[in-house]
């Protein structure tokens, strides 16, 4: 998107891969070679079917996993280098060294450079405390991510405690109370335990916890799907206000496309570990190209019984599209789709 060129880049994900080995030697390619950029102050929506790798993407970015491949840059600094790249460089060094022994003296310099690269890569892979403070995640499963033996006040204040962000006990309490209020909970909730809350209330505790360190970038993994509609509206307004007031940037993972459409500036559509389409909210919602995106849009439920009872869904047959044959193509400025030239001309002519 031309507009983005003079915007500050906050997150740059390059060829990220996250594979998992499961029993029986099977490898699950949860995230398979995805790239995207997020600019300061924007909300970047990530949608896609269950199991397509959305949460894994978020978790890899925030360094809960060691990515298999690719690189992640945060505010211009590299925070992640995939193990694959490091292994590749090591292989190269081996070959170069052999050649060096055989008299290829010019290899010495390249080897030194690669060794330096490996060293900085390992350095970059260390999680630095200021990154923990500046990048926060709101987790998908609120109950599993809240410690059942901690009081709400201590759960929310955890970030303050870890990063020593308060002077007095009074100040700590004040900060927590302010956030409780912000997310629509009351002061007397502070001294209760997670099991005493409803699902939606727990999700708001998770949001307060993520906000307390004054982060710049928030990965919100389905932050509103456990909330009822009226609180969804409150939380979405809240996220938007924080964005306007503090210049926050979001990676917003969700499956409610009408809400993603409403909140996001740009949207990426994931399927089977790949990003199949990326564009502005308008591109994706009104001019979708990839058949998977179209099928997804056709399945959004509308709060209208007559419409719902007569709705026609577009089925998507993934056997017809080979993701490994396709290339990442910019169809109109800023609107990308994964496909072969042939496929894309077929999809766009419809």
């Amino acid at each position: 998107m031309a507009k983005n060129e003079n915007k500050e880049l906050i997150l740059d994900v390059r060829n990220l891969k996250q594979y998992f080995k499961i029993k029986g030697g099977v490898i699950v390619k949860a995230v398979d070679d995805i790239s995207f950029k997020i600019y300061k102050g924007e909300t970047f929506g990530l949608v896609g079917e269950s199991g397509s790798g959305k949460s894994t993407t978020g978790r890899s970015i925030i360094k809960l996993y060691e990515p298999t491949g690719g690189e992640v840059y945060y505010k211009g600094e590299r925070i992640t280098v995939g193990q694959h790249s490091i292994d590749e460089w090591k292989e190269q060094i081996k070959i170069l060294k052999k050649e060096l022994k055989l008299g290829k003296t010019e290899n010495a310099e390249i080897i030194a450079k690669l060794e330096e690269r490996i060293k900085t890569a390992s350095n970059d892979n260390i999680v630095k405390p200021d990154l923990r403070q500046s990048m926060q995640m709101i987790f998908q499963d609120p109950m599993a991510s809240l410690n059942p033996r901690m009081r709400v006040i201590d759960i929310i204040a955890e970030g303050l405690d870890v990063h020593h962000l308060f002077e007095t006990e009074e100040e700590r309490k004040e900060k927590v109370m302010k956030l409780l209020d912000l997310v629509g909970l009351s002061e007397d909730h502070a001294y209760r335990y997670p099991h005493e809350f409803s699902g939606g209330q727990r999700q708001r505790i998770g949001i307060a916890r993520a906000l307390i360190t004054n982060p710049d970038f928030i990965i919100a993994d389905e932050p509103i799907s456990a909330l009822d509609v009226s609180i969804q509206a409150q939380v979405v307004n809240l996220l938007n206000d924080l964005k306007a007031d503090f210049g926050l940037t979001y990676l917003f993972i969700a499956h409610d496309l009408s809400m993603v459409h409403y909140i996001s500036d740009r949207i990426a559509v994931m399927h089977l570990g790949r990003i199949v389409e990326l564009g502005t909210s308008e591109d994706i919602n009104y001019h979708p190209i990839h058949p998977y995106t179209r099928s997804l849009l056709s399945a959004i439920p509308q709060p209208d019984p007559d419409y719902e009872h007569s709705r026609k869904r577009i089925d998507y047959n993934k056997a017809e599209v080979d993701y490994y044959a396709g290339t990442w193509t910019e169809v109109t400025p800023g609107h990308f789709v994964l496909g072969t030239a042939e496929e894309i001309s077929k999809w766009t002519s419809k």
Partner: protein, 350 residues
């Protein structure tokens, strides 16, 4: 239509440090064979507690204070679940009434393989051999659209995505062909395509088995798709109940109006979403009149003083607001809501 369940004047409380939480306050409704009743309402309004009461799975600090939960067996015998001994309840749970819980991670055992968790209830209630139970479990996994079912049997919950876990929980609930299936937000963790498939699946099974379904969800689009009737809950009470058409096109309670107005649609992109002002009432000390009055622009003086009864609007449609009293002043619902009635049959979202 044949009644399966009658809930009469149900009151449920929780003892906490702060006092007694009145989570369910005088709730009554019927459930008929083959129908789907959707339950919507604010977070904390009591949707989960109401259904957990039916399953007699309240937390230790919870009590059914008052009221009846009458279950009609196929042979005509009626039992009051509220007073049933634990031993008898075991026979109902899973076999007659099954429940899909809101938080998939807490209803799956993290240390047990998926296969074992599905086989257990089958072996317990259906007297199948281990071999047959295994076969049935594999069938159930593929029925909820998870690939490689045989391999999946050996995996553990953490190796599944959020949505896949939820589908496993659904498979467990369906294992014994229950007469009543209670689904507590079964699709909130799912993307729209899988959600649509799961909903179709539930509908299909319902057609075959004539089971009744209680479906709790925040997604009004899903409600519009699946529900025959809709109950709207607020602060531990049902404030409106009617057919899907009653509630979506001619809603009568101001809380329902607010709920319907908070959904994003093409009319409000770029605007702040409507969100109901204020916070839900404190259930330690519920207000004496209509609990929603404090947050309503339409409250009458009487709404603050006295609990409105369920006014009958039609044979199918009831709501608890003094606005329905013949002497009440005539008020106009918000424009968005008026448009719904006028636009009946036409979607308002692109």
């Amino acid at each position: 239509m044949e009644k399966l369940l009658e809930v009469k004047n149900l009151n449920v409380t929780f003892e906490t440090h702060g006092g007694t939480v009145q989570a369910i306050r005088d709730v009554s409704f019927d459930l008929h064979r083959g129908e789907t009743l959707a339950v919507v309402g604010e977070s904390g309004s009591g949707k989960s507690v109401m259904t957990k009461s039916v399953m007699r799975l309240l937390a230790d600090n919870g009590n059914i204070k008052h009221g009846e939960i009458l279950y009609h067996y196929e042979d005509g015998t009626i039992v009051d679940i509220a007073k049933l001994r634990d031993g008898e309840m075991h026979k109902i749970r899973g076999a007659e009434i099954a429940m899909v819980f809101q938080d998939p991670m807490t209803s799956l055992n993290p240390t047990m393989t998926i296969g074992k968790q599905i086989m257990e209830p089958i072996m317990k209630h259906q007297n199948l051999s281990k071999k047959d139970a295994r076969q049935k479990a594999i069938e159930l996994i593929s029925m909820v659209k998870i690939d490689r079912p045989t391999k999946r049997m050996k995996q553990y919950p953490h190796e599944f995505s959020g949505g896949m876990r939820q589908r496993i929980v659904i498979a467990v609930a369906l294992a014994c062909n229950p007469n009543i299936l209670i689904c507590d937000e079964p699709t909130t963790a799912l993307d729209v395509t899988i959600q649509a498939q799961i909903i179709d699946l539930i509908k299909e099974l319902q057609q075959q088995t004539k089971a009744a379904v209680i479906f709790i969800t925040h997604d009004l689009g899903v409600v519009a798709n699946i529900a025959d009737r809709v109950a709207v809950m607020y602060a531990g009470k049902i404030c409106e109940i009617g057919t899907s058409s009653d509630v979506f096109y001619t809603p009568a309670h101001p809380y329902t109006w607010g709920l319907l107005a908070s959904k994003p649609n093409t009319d409000n992109l770029g605007e702040k979403l409507y969100s109901i002002p204020g916070t839900p009432p404190n259930l330690l000390d519920p207000p004496k009149g209509d609990a929603f009055a404090l947050r309503s622009n339409y409250a009458l003086e009487l709404d603050f003083e006295e609990q409105p009864p369920m006014f009958k609007i039609s044979d199918t449609h009831y709501a608890a607001t003094w606005l329905l009293h013949p002497d009440a002043p005539k008020v106009e619902p918000p424009k968005v809501v008026q448009r719904r009635g006028a636009k009946k049959g036409v979607t308002n979202n692109g």
